[in-house]
């Protein structure tokens, strides 16, 4: 097995967008423009960028949730695009996602136990008793309790819901978790709890994270490597300390200089 668990080369994705005053004309938007990216096993690669930079499109395309125009995604040595439906489904067991909005990404009509166990049911793992035991231990691991299985998502706060989302993603013991802005909707105190939880789980379960974020302060804490995206291209990538200390590209410098409070802390 190679050092990289997930790698992509030459990813390209173009959207048609309506334009003009009444939307009669269309323009092409290059959401991804020949993007190469590689995630080392057991580490965190953060993809940072401003809105419209293509970072969320990248996440969706890596998971094959959206078709690519061109490019290749290798996961654990296999080309994801070459897999048929069944094989892709099997591969997705190792490739999970945590979403930004803990209010929108949990089905309000399902109990927490049902939400978390769903992955095990879909992949036909274990019998009812084993599944239950697994759900309980997973919920406890993310800081919730067995009693929470019977509750509905609306009974929880934003931070707790994000814990449910994490439990759902991790119950299948995935290898890679794509986190799309997982703490952006949370207060800073809750954000700190979730970031620490993600780090602990990574150590314990040997997870690799692809961490999509616009918050450069959060990225500094969670990432080992960083890729900076701008207008569909990766303009700079590297090891987090080195990149923050010595950004080479003007765009990265500009981005880092805009971090609120940075100048004061540096003074």
């Amino acid at each position: 097995m190679s050092e990289f668990i997930l790698s992509a080369t030459g990813l390209t994705k173009t959207y048609k967008q309506r334009s003009g005053r009444f939307g009669f004309s269309t323009t092409l938007v290059k959401a991804l423009d020949n993007v190469d990216i590689a995630l080392k096993s057991g580490t965190t690669l953060a993809v940072v960028g401003e809105s419209g930079s293509g970072k969320s499109t990248l996440a969706r395309c890596l998971l094959q949730l959206q078709p690519l125009d061109a490019g290749k995604v290798l996961f654990d040595g296999r080309d994801l695009a070459s897999l048929d439906r069944e094989a892709l489904r099997a591969a997705r067991r190792d490739l999970q996602m945590v979403f930004q909005d803990p209010f929108a990404s949990l089905n309000p009509r399902m109990r927490v136990g049902e939400i978390v166990v769903e992955g095990l049911v879909i992949h036909q793992l274990g019998d009812a008793e084993q599944r239950r035991a697994k759900v309980v231990s997973m919920l406890e691991r993310v800081g919730l309790s067995a009693a929470d299985m019977k509750k509905y998502p609306h009974e929880f706060s934003g931070g707790q819901r994000q814990r449910i989302g994490i439990a759902r993603a991790l119950i299948l013991d995935p290898k890679v978790v794509v986190c799309d802005e997982p703490v952006s909707a949370l207060d800073v105190s809750i954000q700190a709890q979730i970031l620490l939880l993600l780090k602990e789980l990574q150590r314990e379960m040997g997870l690799s994270y692809l961490f999509i974020s616009h918050d450069l302060r959060v990225v500094r804490h969670i990432a080992d490597e960083v890729a900076v995206m701008h207008r569909g291209r990766v303009v700079e990538q590297g090891q987090v300390e080195a990149l923050y200390a010595n950004p080479r590209e003007e765009y990265t410098q500009n981005l880092l200089n805009s971090i609120p409070g940075r100048h004061r802390q540096a003074a």
């Binding site: 207060d187 700190a192 302060r217 981005l255 409070g261 004061r264």
Partner: protein
């Protein structure tokens, strides 16, 4: 220096449950040419405090007690009509979402001009000249006056909102999370613009935010709120570098720094309860 704004023992509660205090005994003041940041997490009462000052509390809530004195006279008990004369003219306001605050079917020039014609009675050429000057002062070319909001980026829309809020040269500007929805590079530009306008026009600015980084960039004075109460207030240097209250210290420990020098520490609310809140 005389206080521009003095909030005294402000208390706000739902009309249906007057004992549930959402803002509890809040007092602070603001001088001309200075920026006071109210910082806190969601539910701390920071936005309700700002809405109280503007007289824009939701109908279900009411001011239980306390006084709000602006330029020497109380805003409490003013009729809606009287308050309309204060808002927009003597107190400017900017909100978080620049897209929902602008009318999509009117040009930005018209919307900026509306403030001027309503409060100052300008019209015709005088109005157009003033609108052009205002747009230029917030960094938007005057010829964009005929553009509609959807033709502008988020940052430009927030600039239009700022142009509207300062149109009548208010003595005070209230900004409720004005940069939260913006990208960081745009946020930095908007913060710089606000700081510049504040100095040039000698405005007092009441700035609501949840982000200590923004506080560090823009505040002169800081008010930290937690569960409806002020737990600490002081100059920006004192609060950020020498926080006295355990909650302020705990909240600062949660904020990741851009250098990655410190370890994150979530707030232990149980411990906080024991520690002299």
């Amino acid at each position: 220096m005389a206080d521009l704004l003095k909030v005294e023992k402000l208390t706000v509660a739902p009309a249906a449950a007057p004992s549930r205090l959402l803002v509890n005994n809040v007092s602070f003041s603001l001088s001309p040419g200075r920026t006071t940041c109210i910082v806190g997490e969601s539910g701390s009462g920071k936005s309700l405090t700002a809405l109280s000052v503007m007289g824009l509390l939701p109908k279900a809530l009411q001011r239980v007690s306390g006084d709000i004195v602006f330029q020497g006279s109380s805003l409490v008990g003013l009729s809606n009509t009287q308050m309309c004369d204060v808002r927009g003219k003597r107190i400017g306001m900017i909100f978080q979402e620049p897209m929902t605050s602008l009318n999509p079917v009117l040009t930005i020039g018209f919307q900026v001009g509306e403030t001027l014609s309503t409060h100052l009675g300008l019209s015709g050429k005088a109005l157009r000249t003033k609108v052009a000057a205002l747009l230029e002062s917030v960094g938007i070319p005057a010829e964009r006056a005929n553009s509609y909001p959807d033709e502008l980026s988020g940052g430009q829309r927030q600039r239009v909102m700022i142009a509207m809020s300062i149109a009548c040269e208010p003595a005070m500007l209230i900004a409720d999370e004005p940069t939260t929805a913006l990208d960081v590079t745009v946020q930095a530009q908007i913060l710089a613009l606000l700081a510049d306008l504040k100095t040039r026009m000698n405005m007092g600015m009441l700035f609501i935010t949840h982000d200590f980084g923004v506080v560090a960039d823009i505040a002169d004075d800081v008010v930290v709120m937690f569960r409806g109460e002020i737990v600490e207030k002081g100059s920006v240097g004192d609060v950020l570098d020498r926080p006295q209250h355990p909650y302020t210290r705990a909240l600062l420990d949660c904020v990741p720094d851009a250098e990655g020098r410190k370890a994150l520490k979530p707030i232990d609310y149980d411990w906080l309860k024991g520690a002299s809140v």
